[in-house]
Structures are given as C-alpha cells and as structure tokens.
Amino acid sequence: MKIPSSISAFRRSPGGPSFWRRAVAMIGGAFVAVLVFEVALKVVEVSPLWRVLPLVEPILGEPDARMGYAFTPGAEGIWIEENRARIRINALGLRDAEREIEKKSGTFRVGLVGDSMVEALQVDQSQTFSAIAERDLKSKGVNAEVVNLAMAGMGPLRQLVRMEASGYPLNLDLAVFVLNVNDFLTSDMTDDSAFTAYRRGADGYLSRSERFRERRSVRLRNTVFGRTFVWSYQNSAVFRLLYQRLRRPWRSVLNLPAPPPARVAQTDACFNDALDAQFALWTQQQPASAWAVTAHFLDDAQRSLDAAGVPTVVMIRALWLPPLVCAEARERRAATLAAIQTSLSAHGFGSLDINTEVDQALGLPDGGSDAHGPLHGFGVRRGRGHLNLLGHQTYAQILEAVVAARIPASAMFRY
C-alpha cells in the first residue's frame, strides 16, 4: 500500500527534524503559550484594564467537610458576571470586611445570612447592603457590626448550618436570615449529595444528613493532591479556565449553538403558579412531604438558635407581590404571608416581607416584580438578577430598620 506523501513527510527526512523533535518543539511552544497567557491575565487583573478586557471567573471557595463548600480565607479575585468587582474573602472565610472573632464590649453584632443576593459578589464590599447598613448605623451613633455570612445558593438549612459554623463563634446579638420562600419547595432540603440536607432515617424521623462528605472532592481536600488542586485553581487563571470550561457539556465547550427551547413559557403577570404553590404549602401544608421538611427545619432552627441564645429575624424574599389588577392573587399572597409569619412567630422568630418593605422604601403604591426592576441588574446584556447599587442602598435601609428596632441602649456610642 502506498503511503500518502503527507504521512511520509512526518518520517525522518534528511533535511528536516524528526517527527518527535517537531512534536517536542510544539509542546514547548504550547507550554510557553500557557505562561504568556497566564502573565497576560495577571497584567489585566492588576491594571485598569480589568474593568474592560476578558478575565477568568474566580473560584473563591473549596470543598469543606462542615458546609460542603466554603470560602477560602484570604481568597481574592475579580468577579465578572453581571458586574465587575474586586472580591476578597476575609480571614474568617466570609465575604465581609476583616473582623475580630472577639466582640468588643458595647458592640451590637448582627449576623446576616442569605444567598447570592446577600453575598453580593457583583459589587465592592463597601457597597453591599450589609456594609452600607453598618456604616449608616455607625453614623447615627449605633455601635453595630453587620457581619455578612452569606454564600451563593444557600437555602434555609444551609443558612442555618452556616450560622452555626461561622455565626455562633462570633457571639452574635442578632441573627438575620434572608430566606427565599421558593427554596422550601426545591429538592435542596432533602438532597444531601452536595450539602447538608434532611433525610428520613430507619425510624421514620427526619434528621440532618451529611452524605456529601463521601464525595471525592471533600475526601481529597486535605491530601497533597487536594491542596495542590485548590491552590492551582485559585492561583492560576489558565488552570481555572480549563477546569471551568472542560466541566461544561460538550456542546458548550465546542461553542455550538444551543438547541431551541422546546416550549416558551407563558408570562404569568400575576405570579399565580408561584403563589399557588406557596399558598398550598403554608396554609394547607401541601405537599405533605415538603411541609414535613419545612416544619422540621423550623423546629430545628428554633432549637439551634435558642440554644445559642441569638434572637432571630427572618426577611422573607421572593414572595412576589402581584400588581393591583390581580386582586385574587394579592389576596392569596396576603394569606400566605400571614401563614408564614404565624409559623415563624410560633417558633420565636421575628419576620418581615422584603417586597412590602421595598415598596414602602421606594414609595410604590402598587407592586409587581417590574416595579423593583431598577434595583436589579447592571445594564444591557450584563445580567439582571442581582442587586445593583440602588438595590443595595434600598435593602440597607430595610436592614438598618430591622437592626435599629432591636438595639439596646448599651450599644449607643458614648460621646
């Protein structure tokens, strides 16, 4: 069989280098390219160009035996989704300013826990609503600290675990949970593959389960391999880039166009579907399995917070307020909110509805999610989900009122 000329070209020829020498040279070139790219990304990060040029998203956390996943103390990076912001995780592993574990006497310390809305990686630390509220309180003579314990994706139980792991050691005077009510209806509360969740034991009772500790990433975290891996993705942009991209579906890795959606969902201007589900859960205790988990969580949280002696306020989020024209939906929402607040109160928790508070803060008579649009998003094609600067200022007012109502006289500055 005749060998095609191009294959024979790879064989050693009298005038050129061998195939292997060429291959080694190409690999050498690729290695230099990786170094050049790494240096280029570092230069972008430290120069003003970080606001404009492409960057690799940071990974600020690592597998954790207690939480499943936690911030790495001292981790740094530039957040690039929705809005760009320089992020630094403090020495306690919190998305917050540096804090002492020991609370100074006379200080009123608040632990704020929530999901990505509270974590607020899209803005600078000083622009988060926890930081603004603390600043404003101090400017009014209140010696308060608002410690941000939030992390993206934290549902109710993860927030409680976070509070226990990172909040209680800080000797808190007040715990504030920002709970997305829709999280009570997801499987996160019962799926322990990645984080703590409730599982029904052989005795039929629900209890906390931490099967995520069997995950390879958690098991290997404290081995040399695990430490090297975490160090690599937190310090090498190229490593992080390859790690993040190659974990995606092959269609995304190849940049092939996504298939068209099977069905475009109809817009539900009155939020009927979401409100019906919440109404059924809180007033009719349906579905029974979801209510069992919800009730168990409330009992669990009450036991934990009572034992720690921390008064608690729950800020209820994402119970959307329908516009005035949706009278029936508004009634259902009011009944749902009353049921939620009754349940929380029965467990000793204070509560408030963020939607109502935002409407009052903005002077809006009506409601509806569109009315809160200016609080979310950072511009065209930059994402619309998280709080922008106006959103943080508004939420800060609400949080400030919550804290101010519970401040003892001893926490006022003495002049």
């Binding site: 294959i7 040279a25 190409m26 040029l53 492409p54 998203e57 940049n255 511009g379 930059r382």
Partner: protein, 448 residues
C-alpha cells in the same frame, strides 16, 4: 458555527489533515463546508444548497449571454429581496408563512454568485467545470458566511486544482496561524469587550456630548475589530487549507479621506460595488451631475445591502455625499494631515451612528447630542473622563497594526516558521477561544 469556537478550530484541523491524506481534497473541503453550514440549521442549509443548485442550473441551461445575466440577477437578487427585503415590499409580515429569519450569509453568497455569472459572460473567467467545483467555490467554508466576496478568477482556479486532487501546501504555516490568532484577539479580546459599553450607551441614549462621541467611537472600533477579526480568521484558515483569499481590511482608520477609507474598509465589497454597480451604471464617464447621481445611488444601494432598514440607506447616502464632496473639493482645499485626519474620522464616526442606530429619528437625536444639542430626558454621563484615554489607546493600537502590516513582517515570520511557533500560536488561540463565558456575541456581519 462561530469562527471563534473550538468546533470551528477542529473543523479546520480535520479538513486540513484529511485533505492532505486523501486524493480527493476537493470533496473533503466540500464536506467540511456542508458540516459548517448544517450546524447553522436545516433551513439555512436547504436555502444555501438550493441556491447552489439553481445557480448551477442557470449556467447549465442558458448560453453565456445577457439572458444568463438576467436570470442570474433575477435569481440572486430575487433571493435577497425575498429573504432580506420582504419587509419593504410587503410591509409587516409577522406571522406569515415567509416569516423566516435571514439565512446565514445570503448577502455574501448571492453577490458572489451574481459576480460569477457576470464574469463568465464577460469572459473574465472560465466557468466551473463541474457541480462539485461550483459548489465548493460558492460554499468554501472560511468565506461562506461573511466574505470576503471572492471573485471567480481568484478562487475558482484554486478550487478546481483541489477538485483535481492537487492542494497547494503553503509553506508559511506560521502566517496562517498568526492570522487566525490575530483575528481571535480582535474579536474575543477587543470587539466583545467593547460591545457591552456600546450597547449600554446606545440603549440608554447618551446624555451628553462626551458620552455620545465615546459611544460612537467605541462602536467604530467594535465593528472594525469584529469584522476585520472575522476576515483575518477567514484568510488564515483558508491559507492553512491551501487557499489564498483577498485581503478585506487594511487598517481603515489611518485613511485621510473617503476614497482611501473604502480602499481599506471591506475592500472586496468596495470592489464589487465598483465593478458591478458603479461602472455599469455609467461610473465617471458622463456629465458631472450624472456621475454625482450614480455615485450617491451606488453608495445608497451599498448601504441597503447591509439590511432592510432606512438607517443603512442613510448611512450609504451619507457616504455617497461625503465621497462626492471629497471629489469636488479635490486638491483645492488641502489641509494639513492632522486636521484632515481628525475631520475625516469625525465624519466616519458620525456616519457609524446611523449604521448602529435602531431608527433614523434615534440616529438624528444621537448626532444632535454629539454636537451639543441634548434631547429631553438626557442623563448625565456615567463614564469617567479616563475612558477617552482608552479610545486614544485604540487609535494607537490601530496605527501600530498599520505599521506592522508590511512585507517586512512576512519576512520576519519566515524565521519563525517553526513547530515551536506553531505550538505557541495554536495553544494561545485555543485559550482565547475558551475565555468567554458565553456565546452571545456572534460576528456583527453574520446578520447581513
């Protein structure tokens, strides 16, 4: 399939490897083109392959005379009119059975096919020998979607050689790889980074003169980096596959006047317009008035080619008038080059506003803000003065690109044509492709 995707890089690699290992490189390249187009979707593919067959049919059934040209015009301009300009002829067509999205690359392959038939009839080129070579000429994937608009005499001989089993092995692999890398840098690093700022300014309507100029200048660079980046990747990947395509951009913002600009911006379209519109309509042969009318009409049609929106027509009309004024002024008003360049770039930038704006009224409002007449409801600028330094840096980069784009660079590359440099280029290109988080930035000219 985006040029700035791993899928495209793999397609080029597979087509290059297989076309060298097989005795039928033409067939492999056509297969590559089919794969490239099928990824775009079945409707786009069916329209494209239907257009190929119909154009081949026109050549097959008609003698090389005016009848063939007439049929070719009816077919290709008819396709364009049907898919691109139906809104103008039929009004609002939403919900009608012909409400199909603009097929990918239709403006480019329609013009290319039309030019082919005219060239064959004129005797400027030989007709394609087979359907395979004609299909590959029309569908050669590096130039399929957004040009360059290649003339038959440039590409057809290369295509027929490939169909005959001979594929040219360009020795300067580094050149092809470097072109691809430069294109990716322009598209992914520069154009896509400018895009959110431009969208922000044009979406919110600028509130002051500074922001308005900033938005327009940033768009000028965004569209340049986007389109010339695409063209660089097209030229580079064609070169790696053994083909040479004509250069489409020669750093247009270093030009000092309108005619020079069009010799540097979208060169193959300028050449097409000159050869198949401007000269056949009379060119500069008639009276001054007729020449002026032909010029303005030609440029307006060139604007219309970009899309069925009056903003494009106004953009083209503006260019026609600008070129006309440049001609009339001639050598009578020779300003020092810094003033000429500044005035010229300012005019180019103002014209880009019409290209980018959603409507004529919006464009005029925007231009009014540029010249210090803010409209009602204008807001204060959110952009710091330091952003102007960024624009200056972009001009500097452009000037540097013009300085580097010389034969001397090519000679220098000969020394770098080593496996080490190939590995460096390929790895950098792959890393750049992987950087963006999403694929929401298709090439701007893909939609034309």
């Amino acid at each position: 399939m985006l040029f700035s995707s791993l899928a495209y890089a793999l397609l080029v690699f597979a087509a290059r490897t297989l076309s060298r290992w097989t005795r039928r490189p033409g067939f492999v390249l056509l297969l590559g083109s089919v794969v490239f187009y099928v990824v775009a979707g079945p409707v786009d593919s069916a329209i494209f392959f239907g257009a190929v067959l119909l154009n081949w049919g026109v050549q097959y059934v008609t003698p090389p005379n005016r009848i063939r040209i007439l049929l070719a015009v009816l077919l290709n301009i008819g396709l364009l009119a049907f898919f691109k300009y139906k809104g103008i002829f039929l009004g609002e067509t939403a919900g009608s059975f012909i409400d199909i999205a603009l097929p990918l690359g239709i403006s480019f392959y329609s013009f290319q096919a039309l030019a082919y038939h005219i060239d064959v009839v004129r005797g400027d080129t030989r007709p394609a020998r087979s359907l395979l070579s004609f299909a590959l000429f029309k569908g050669f994937f590096p130039q399929l979607v957004a040009g360059p608009i290649v003339r038959a005499k440039e590409l057809l001989p290369q295509v027929e050689a490939a169909v005959d089993g001979y594929i040219r092995k360009h020795p300067l692999v580094s050149w092809g790889l470097l072109l691809c890398l430069m294109g990716l840098v322009k598209k992914v690093i520069l154009a896509d980074s400018l895009s959110p700022f431009v969208d922000e300014i044009f979406q919110q309507h600028p509130g002051d003169t500074y922001t308005a100029w900033l938005g327009a200048l940033l768009f000028a660079f965004q569209i340049y980096f986007d389109f010339s980046g695409y063209s660089d990747i097209a030229l580079g990947s064609a070169y790696l596959l053994g083909f040479r395509l004509p250069v489409n951009f020669r750093t247009p913002y270093v030009s000092l006047g309108p005619r020079e600009f069009w010799r540097r911006w979208h060169v193959t379209l300028s050449r097409w317009i000159q050869d198949y519109l401007y000269i056949p309509l009379g060119g500069s042969r008639g009276s001054a008035l007729r020449t002026a009318m032909v010029l303005v009409m030609t440029m307006s049609l060139a604007g219309l080619w970009h899309g069925a929106n009056a903003t494009f027509v106004i953009w083209g009309l503006g260019w026609g008038l600008y070129i006309l004024c440049g001609r009339l002024a001639g050598q009578r008003f020779v300003l020092p080059w810094p003033l000429r360049w500044t005035g010229h770039i300012a005019l180019v930038t103002v014209l880009w506003v019409f290209f980018r704006s959603p409507s004529i009224s919006y464009a005029f409002d925007y231009v009014a803000v540029m010249f210090g007449f803010p409209s009602d409801g204008s807001t204060a600028s959110q952009f710091p003065p330091v952003a102007a330094i960024g624009v200056a840096a972009l001009f500097l980069l452009h000037w540097f690109e013009a300085r580097c784009n010389t034969r001397r660079t090519l000679f220098a590359l000969r020394r770098l044509n080593t496996p080490f440099f190939w590995g460096l280029n390929i790895c950098l290109a792959v890393l750049i492709i992987l950087v963006p988080l999403n694929n929401e930035n298709p090439f701007i000219y893909f939609r034309f």
